[in-house]
Amino acid sequence: MTSADVEHTGGPACASAAGEQSWDAVFVEQFPRVYNFLRYRLGNEAIAEDLASRTFEKAWRDRQRYRRDLSKFSTWLLTIARNLAIDHRRTEHVHAPLDAALEAPAEGTPEKEAERRSNFARLSALLAELSDRERELLALKYGAGATNRAIADVTGLSESNVGTIVHRTVAALRSRW
C-alpha cells in the first residue's frame, strides 16, 4: 500500500457497465483507504472497522445522491468517514489508542506482524499527542493516501495550508521517530 493520490471520477451510481470503474473496483480500492484513515484518525482497530463499515453502508444507501460534478467519489467517501469520526469523537471521550489495535488478528508471519504492530503502536502514540486537526490531516494524507487537494476539499482548508500543516507536523514527528 502506498500513499498514492486518490483520484477517481467514477462511483457506484454511474458504474453500470464496462468502461467505467465498477462499484466492486471502487470498493476494493477505497475500502482500505477509508479503513486506514479511521485507524490513523482514531487509533482504535475495532472502532475503525465499525466506522469503515458504516461509511460504506451510508455511501451505498446514498449512492443516488452522489453528484460527480461536486466532488470525486473518493472525496465523498472520505467526507462521510470524516463526519462519522467526528461524531464518534463527540460521543466517545475515552480512547484506548493501542490496546484494541494490538488485539486485531495477525496477518503475515508472526515476525512481520510483531514489527507491524510495534510500528503502529509507536506511530499511534505519536499521533495521539497531536491536535485534532493535525491528526486528521495526517490520517487523510497517510492513512487514506489523499492528495493535498482532496484533503482541502474534505476539510475546507486551503491546499497550501494543508501542505504547510502536514509538512510541519511530519517534520516534528520524524524528529521523535
Binding site: 460504506f56 510500528n119 506511530l123
Partner: protein, 330 residues
C-alpha cells in the same frame, strides 16, 4: 520529505471484515428492493416477469444445450474475460420477446443452421464420467454450505452453429423498435459466423430446501467473417437492448468485445454487482421476492470465467454462501 515512517502503520483490512461489508451492502440493496415492493412500486406480474427474464437470460448464457446457448455465445467472441451488465427496461425485454426472442444473434441473422447438435443431456454417474463425456476435467466447489450435497450431474454435447447475416432482417428489427439513428451494416449481409460450443456440465446440489447448480464449460469458439466491425455490432445490440444512443456508442467504442460478454439485466431485478472470483472478473445478480409479508431470497446467480473456462453458479442460497462456493471451485 522523508515521511516513509508515516506509512508503517498501514494495514490491509481483515478479509472477514471485507466479506462482511460486502454482504451487508448486498443486504441493503435487497432491502431497498423489498421496500420498493412493499410500496407497490412494481406490480407483481412485472416483477415476476423481470425475475424470470433474468434467469432466462443467464441460463441462456451457459446452460441450455440448444440454439440459444450457442447463439448467446456469438457475443462471447473467442474468450469471456469480462461481463458487461446492461440494464434493460422490462418493457423492452417484452418487446423483444414478442418479436424475435432475446437472442442477440437472431437480430443479425435469421438463418441459423445447426451443423452439429448437442443432443439430449446425458446423466453422468460420477465426476470422472462427466469429465470423460465433456472431454475435460470437471471443476467442483471444495466448500459447500452444510447439508448441500450433489444430486445430479448432466453433460450436454458439443454443438456447432452457422449463422448467416441478414442486413434486411436486422433493419426491420431496428425499424420496428423505432431506432432510426443507426442502420444495419451492409457488410453483414450473407456473411457467415460459426459458433462452436463445448460440452456443458451441470452439477445440481440440494439439501431439500436449498438448491444450487454449477454450470461450466470451456470457452466457446466463434469464427467471424473478415472485416467484421464488432464495435458497430455491439452498438446496434446495445441500442436494441434499449441503451441510450450516446451511452451505447461510448460503451461500444470503449469495450473490448473480443473478451466481453453482454449480460442483459432487467431493470427491476434486485441487485447486480461486478465481483472478483478467484482473481477473475465476475457478475453477481440477485432477485428477491416476498412470501406473504415475509421477504425471501429467490435466486442468486454468479457468473465468472477462469482461464479457458466459463462458470455460472445459480441457486437460492445467500449471496455470501454462493460467493464462497464459487471461490472454492477448483
Amino acid at each position: 520529505m522523508q515521511d516513509e515512517f508515516m506509512l508503517t502503520g498501514l494495514r490491509k483490512p481483515r478479509p472477514e471484515l471485507v466479506r462482511q461489508v460486502r454482504v451487508r451492502l448486498a443486504e441493503i440493496e435487497a432491502g431497498e428492493h423489498r421496500t420498493a415492493v412493499r410500496r407497490g412500486v412494481m406490480s407483481p406480474p412485472l416483477r415476476w416477469a423481470a425475475c424470470a427474464a433474468a434467469v432466462l437470460v443467464l441460463a441462456c448464457a451457459f446452460a441450455l444445450p440448444s440454439v440459444r446457448a450457442a447463439a448467446q455465445a456469438f457475443l462471447d467472441l473467442f474468450r469471456v474475460v469480462n461481463f458487461a451488465p446492461v440494464t434493460v427496461q422490462t418493457d423492452r425485454l417484452r418487446q423483444l420477446a414478442e418479436r424475435q426472442g432475446i437472442d442477440l444473434p437472431k437480430m443479425i441473422g435469421d438463418r441459423i443452421e445447426v451443423v452439429q447438435a448437442a443432443g439430449q443431456p446425458k446423466i453422468a454417474p460420477t465426476l470422472e464420467a462427466a469429465g470423460t463425456l465433456a472431454g475435460a476435467r470437471v471443476a467442483v466447489p471444495t466448500w459447500r454450505p452444510v447439508g448441500l450435497e450433489p444430486q445430479r450431474i448432466e453433460v450436454s454435447g458439443t454443438e456447432t452453429l452457422r449463422i448467416t447475416g441478414n442486413t434486411a432482417s436486422l433493419q426491420r428489427l431496428l425499424d420496428s423498435l423505432g431506432i432510426d439513428d443507426v442502420s444495419a451494416p451492409e457488410w453483414l449481409d450473407g456473411k457467415i459466423v460459426t459458433a462452436h460450443v463445448a460440452p456443458v456440465v451441470r452439477i445440481a446440489y440440494s439439501d431439500g430446501n436449498r438448491h444450487a447448480m454449477l454450470i461450466e464449460s470451456r470457452q466457446p469458439q466463434v469464427l467471424l467473417p473478415p472485416g467484421a466491425d464488432l464495435a458497430q455490432l455491439a452498438d446496434i445490440a446495445l441500442r436494441v437492448l434499449g441503451v441510450e444512443r450516446d451511452e451505447a456508442y461510448r460503451m461500444a467504442q470503449s469495450v473490448d468485445w473480443r473478451t466481453t460478454l453482454i449480460v442483459p439485466i432487467p431493470s427491476d431485478v434486485s441487485y447486480f454487482r461486478q465481483v472478483d472470483v478467484q482473481g477473475n472478473g465476475g457478475l453477481l445478480i440477485g432477485t428477491v421476492r416476498t412470501r406473504g409479508r415475509q421477504p425471501s431470497q429467490v435466486a442468486t446467480q454468479l457468473l465468472w470465467s477462469s482461464g479457458d473456462r466459463v462458470f455460472a453458479l445459480v441457486g437460492n442460497l445467500r449471496p455470501d454462501e454462493l460467493f464462497d462456493m464459487a471461490q472454492s471451485v477448483q
